[in-house]
């Protein structure tokens, strides 16, 4: 964490709203991404991300400064999303399930070929759809590991699990996703050029 962030955190703890808003600006992207990947709905993801920041605002005194602030925020967001998904599952007999909406990814400035861009977007859209079929906990583990690059020990700490459980669930979720992909889609699973050449 940079000195600037530490200063912002110290100010936010003194109930300086402008400092807290600056922190929101810094971390809105990872928190929103986690909520979107977990919930699959833009509106719900925005609500969940805002709720995450509000909880962080109210409980800033509980934040242990030895931990990474981003990791603490992601932990709040993951627990909140898991709660939403469990509530959604328990209410699913009352209302229609929420369908994943269209994934809008940022344009890739290094990819000039429109066909490749379209193929890449399609792959990521399908991936998001498969992600929503994992259990909430497995989904959270996959998202924290891949999109937020948290080490397994940190994920275990954030989700109150053991490192072994995280490793097993990560492996199982990856295998499950690969199996679902091969069963349901004809689009090939391709990695980047370096990894493709490896195989």
């Amino acid at each position: 964490m940079s000195m600037d962030e530490q200063t912002l955190l110290a100010c936010a703890r003194q109930k300086d709203d402008q400092a807290f808003l600056r922190l929101v600006e810094l971390y809105q992207r990872p928190v929103y991404n986690l909520c979107y990947r977990m919930l699959g709905d833009a509106q719900e993801a925005e609500d969940a991300a805002q709720e995450t920041f509000l909880r962080a605002y109210h409980h800033l005194d509980r934040y242990d400064s030895r931990r990474s602030f981003a990791s603490w925020l992601l932990s709040i967001a993951a627990h909140h999303c898991i709660d939403i998904l469990r509530r959604r599952r328990s209410l699913s007999f009352l209302e229609a399930s929420v369908e994943d909406d269209e994934l809008s990814l940022p344009p890739d400035p290094f990819q000039p070929d429109p066909q490749l861009v379209a193929e890449r977007n399609e792959q990521h859209r399908l991936l998001q759809r498969l992600l929503l079929r994992l259990s909430p906990l497995d989904r959270a583990i996959i998202i924290l590991r891949y999109w937020h690059e948290l080490p397994e020990a940190e994920i275990a700490r954030n989700l109150n699990l053991t490192v072994t459980v995280v490793k097993v669930r990560l492996h199982r979720a990856r295998r499950h996703l690969a199996r679902l992909w091969s069963q349901e889609y004809t689009l090939p699973l391709t990695g980047n050029a370096h990894e493709a050449s490896l195989l």
């Binding site: 809105q28 940022p106 490896l198």
Partner: protein, 165 residues
């Protein structure tokens, strides 16, 4: 075929690379790992911060949700006292309110005693006529229903409160 265990985040050994060339299921998993690694994060809407700021201001201005448990318990106790008092006393409570506040307080005291008396009579009756095990199950059943009722009221008010904001 024996699948070697490997961590895809670490550099692959020669043995694993060789295995991946021949095993389609491990290859699919490896490619899924690559796809996950390549997936970009989804950006938040452009006005996210602005909307959060508005919500924060609204949240700070809004009155705090009332504490429900004490109110609920007080209401229930009063209701029980009045109901028991009305059942035992010769005249309904509202007739006795008229003479004045002091009289009312005295009456309430009397009703409270009468309610306790009724409760003792009821307990005595139950102890004589109902087997202890059945009585206990009846009591725990009643407590369970009461607890569920309290929970449902709590969640209903919480739900209404969150939608009012």
């Amino acid at each position: 075929m024996k699948h070697p265990s490997f961590d895809p985040f670490l550099p692959l050994s020669k043995e694993v690379q060789e295995h991946l060339r021949h095993c389609s299921s491990c290859q699919a998993m490896w490619q899924m790992h690559q796809l996950l690694r390549a997936a970009p994060p989804v950006p938040p809407p452009a006005d996210f911060l602005e909307r959060f700021e508005k919500r924060l201001i609204r949240e700070k201005r809004a009155p705090q949700a009332p504490r429900l448990w004490p109110l609920l318990l007080l209401g229930l106790v009063l209701l029980l006292i009045v109901a028991a008092g009305n059942a035992v006393a010769p005249r309904p409570i509202w007739v006795r309110v008229i003479p004045g506040f002091m009289m009312l307080l005295m009456d309430w005291g009397r009703y409270l005693l009468a309610s306790l008396h009724t409760a003792f009579i009821l307990l005595e009756f139950l102890a004589r006529h109902i087997p202890p095990l059945f009585g206990l199950s009846l009591l725990s059943g009643g407590l369970l229903v009461f607890g569920m009722w309290c929970l449902s009221v709590r969640y209903a008010v919480q739900f209404a409160w969150s939608h009012m904001r």
